[in-house]
C-alpha cells in the first residue's frame, strides 16, 4: 500500500473551490442535507461513531467534543481553527485552496449538531489571499442557498503561533492579545464571548461531509482503527518530493518518505524526521516503520500533530536545527506564564551557547530540568510542547550535543 488515498482532495484542481455549484456537482452538500434530516443528538452520535479525531494535533474525538456543548443557551459558535502555524505545515491551506466548500459544509454540519448558526473561520495572517478566496467561497455558498441559515465570518490572525491554541484563538477573535485562557472552563461550555463554542481544525471539519455522505462505518474503516480516516501530510526538508499527500492513517512513516516522498534528497541517508511541526519529536531512522496515526506516533514518543513531515539527511547538524527551533518558541511564547515566558528564552540562550561551542555538561543538565518543568507546569500546550524537540534529540542524538560542548 504505497498509494495516496484521496478523500478531501479527490477533486483537487478539478473544481473551483469558490464555487458551490462545482462542489455540488461532485456530490457536495449532500452530507449537510443528510445531517439536517437527523436530530442533532443522533448526528453527534454518528460523528462520534465514525471515530473522527481532531486533525489539528490534539486528536480529541470530534463528536465527543460537540457533546460537551450544553443545549440551553441561544447563542453558540462554530469556530474553525485555520491558524496552522506549525512550521512545515500547509495542509489546511491546501484543503481550502482545493476544496473550500467541504470546510464550509463541515462547519454547517457541526452547526446543526450543536444548534448554532454562527460560524467563524480564524485564518492565519500569513494567508490574506486565502482569506479573500474563502470570503468568495462563503458568498457563493450563501447565494446558492447551500448553507441555509448558517453564517460564516472570516477573521484574520496577525502573526502569532500561539493563536493556534483554541482559547488564544478565541481571545484573538474577540480582539484581545492572543493569550490562552486557563481551563476549565473549556470552550465547549464557555468559549467565544463566553458562550459555548466548538473549535475544530480545517481538516476535521472538511472530513464531515464525507462521513455524512458515506456513513460513519465507512470512515471508521479507513486507516488506523483508533484514529480512522485519511490525513493530509506536507513533506519538507531534505526530500525529493517536497509536496503534500493525503494518505490513510495507517500509512507507514517509512513509506511517506521513501515511496510518496521519493526518498531523501540526493540519495543521502536519513538522520531524523520530525513529524507534526516544530513542536514534534525528532524520530530516528530506527523508528520509521511506525504508522502515522495519533496513537502509534504517541507510542514512540512522537506526535502526528499537524501532519508536517520534516526530513533531515545525514549531513544535518541537529543542534543547529534545535537552536533554530528554540528561537522559534522564544519568539512565539505569549509571555503569560512563567515557565514558558522565561523558559523558552533560557532554552534559547542555552542552545545558542551549545551551538556556538560554549556550552557545558551543566548546560545540558539545566536544559533537562527546564524542559521537565515547562512540560509539567506551563499554562498551555505551547509551553508544554516547546521542549519536546530538545528532549527527543537529547534522547536520540545526545552525541551531537556532546561533541559541541567545550
Amino acid at each position: 500500500m504505497t498509494q495516496e488515498y484521496r478523500v478531501l482532495l479527490e477533486h483537487a484542481d478539478k473544481i473551483n473551490p469558490e464555487s458551490a455549484a462545482d462542489y455540488i456537482q461532485v456530490g457536495g452538500y449532500k452530507g449537510l442535507e443528510k445531517a439536517r434530516s437527523m436530530n442533532p443528538k443522533d448526528l453527534t452520535e454518528e460523528v462520534k461513531k465514525s471515530g473522527l479525531r481532531g486533525r489539528g494535533g490534539a486528536g480529541f474525538n470530534a463528536g465527543m467534543k460537540w457533546s460537551f456543548v450544553p443545549q440551553y443557551p441561544e447563542t453558540k459558535y462554530v469556530v474553525c481553527n485555520f491558524d496552522e502555524g506549525e512550521p512545515g505545515t500547509y495542509k489546511d491551506r491546501i484543503i481550502c485552496q482545493k476544496n473550500a466548500q467541504a470546510l464550509l459544509e463541515g462547519m454547517a454540519i457541526c452547526g446543526h449538531a450543536i444548534g448554532s448558526n454562527n460560524g467563524y473561520i480564524y485564518c492565519r495572517g500569513e494567508y490574506p489571499f486565502v482569506v479573500e478566496m474563502l470570503k468568495k467561497a462563503i458568498g457563493n455558498a450563501k447565494e446558492s442557498g447551500a448553507l441555509g441559515e448558517f453564517n460564516i465570518e472570516v477573521r484574520m490572525g496577525a502573526g502569532a503561533y500561539v493563536c493556534g491554541e483554541e482559547t488564544a484563538l478565541i481571545e484573538s477573535i474577540e480582539g484581545h492579545r492572543g493569550e490562552p485562557r486557563f481551563k476549565p472552563p473549556f470552550p465547549g461550555v464557555e468559549g467565544l464571548w463566553r458562550m459555548p463554542t466548538v473549535v475544530n481544525n480545517v481538516e476535521t471539519f472538511a472530513c464531515l461531509p464525507y462521513i455524512m455522505t458515506n456513513g460513519a462505518d465507512w470512515f471508521a474503516g479507513i486507516g488506523a482503527k483508533s484514529y480512522p480516516g485519511t490525513k493530509v501530510l506536507t513533506l519538507t526538508g531534505d526530500i525529493e518530493n517536497p509536496t503534500y499527500f493525503e494518505v490513510p492513517t495507517d500509512y507507514l512513516l517509512r513509506d511517506v518518505i521513501y515511496e510518496l516522498g521519493g526518498g531523501v534528497k540526493g540519495g543521502k541517508k536519513l538522520k531524523a524526521v520530525q513529524v507534526g511541526g516544530t513542536s514534534g519529536a525528532f524520530i530516528p531512522s530506527q523508528n520509521l516503520d511506525t504508522p502515522i496515526d495519533f496513537d502509534s506516533m504517541g507510542a514512540i514518543g512522537a506526535a502526528l500533530g499537524s501532519g508536517a513531515v520534516f526530513v533531515m539527511d545525514e549531513s544535518r547538524d541537529i543542534v543547529d536545527i534545535i537552536n533554530r527551533i528554540a528561537k522559534f518558541f522564544e519568539h512565539e511564547s505569549c509571555g503569560q506564564c512563567t515557565p514558558c515566558r522565561e523558559g523558552t528564552f533560557r532554552c534559547k540562550e542555552i542552545m545558542e551557547r551549545i551551538n556556538t561551542g560554549r556550552g557545558s555538561l551543566k548546560d545540558i543538565e539545566n536544559l533537562k530540568v527546564l524542559a521537565r518543568i515547562m512540560q509539567k507546569a506551563s499554562l498551555c500546550g505551547l509551553g508544554q510542547a516547546a521542549p519536546i524537540p530538545i528532549t527527543s534529540t537529547l534522547e536520540h542524538f545526545e552525541y551531537e550535543y556532546l561533541r559541541k560542548l567545550v
Binding site: E84, G85, E86, P87, G88, T89, Y90, R93, R124, G125, E126, Y127, P128, F129, E153, R155, M156, G157, A158, G159, A160, Y161, S172, I173, E174, G175, H176, R177, G178, W193, T234, T236, G237, D238, P242, T243, Y244, Q274, T278, A308, F310, M312, R316, I321, R324, I325, K327, F328, H331, E332, C334
Partner: protein, 148 residues
C-alpha cells in the same frame, strides 16, 4: 489614501474586530499610526493601553513606521535548512540595512518571520505578504528590482 477614520468605521460593526481594523489600516499605511490606534481604541471601547497591548502582541502588526514594501524572510526550520540565513545576508547586503530596519528611501522594511506556510518551495520570502519561492542569495537583486 483612505482616511483611517473611515477604515475604522468600516470595521466597527465587527464585534471585537480591532485586529481586522488594524489589518485594514496597515493595508493603507503599512503600520498603525498613533492617531489611528487611539481612534481604534475608542471605536472598540478599549483603553489606549489595551489597544497598544494588542497591536504589540502580533508580529504582523507594527506601531512603528515601515517602508512601502515589507520583506519577510522566513527563518523557521524548513527554510533554515534550505539556506534562509544566506538569503537574509544577501538581502541585508543588497538593501544596506539590518533586520528590523527600513531603507532610507522608505521603500523596503526587512523583517524576520516564522513559517508562512509555503514550505513546498523553501526558502520563502514574502513581500507585502506575496510569497516568493525557492529564493537563492543570487536571486535577491533580481527579485527586489521588480518592486518600484
Amino acid at each position: 489614501m483612505a482616511n483611517y477614520m473611515d477604515i475604522i468605521a468600516g470595521c466597527k460593526d465587527k464585534t471585537g474586530g480591532i485586529i481586522e481594523a488594524y489589518h485594514a489600516i496597515q493595508k493603507e499605511y503599512n503600520y498603525i499610526p498613533e492617531e489611528a490606534l487611539k481612534e481604534a481604541a475608542k471605536a472598540f471601547k478599549l483603553s489606549e493601553a489595551q489597544a497598544f497591548g494588542v497591536a504589540t502582541f502580533y508580529s504582523y502588526l507594527s506601531v512603528k513606521k515601515r517602508g512601502k514594501y515589507i520583506i519577510r524572510m522566513c527563518e523557521s526550520a524548513p527554510c533554515h535548512v534550505a539556506g534562509a540565513d544566506e538569503v537574509l545576508k544577501a538581502m541585508e547586503a543588497y538593501l544596506g540595512i539590518k533586520v528590523g530596519e527600513t531603507t532610507p528611501d522608505n521603500k523596503f522594511t526587512l523583517e524576520l518571520t516564522e513559517c508562512v506556510g509555503q514550505c513546498q518551495a523553501t526558502p520563502v520570502v514574502t513581500i507585502n505578504s506575496e510569497p516568493v519561492f525557492n529564493v537563492k542569495p543570487e536571486m535577491v537583486p533580481g527579485i527586489l528590482a521588480g518592486y518600484k
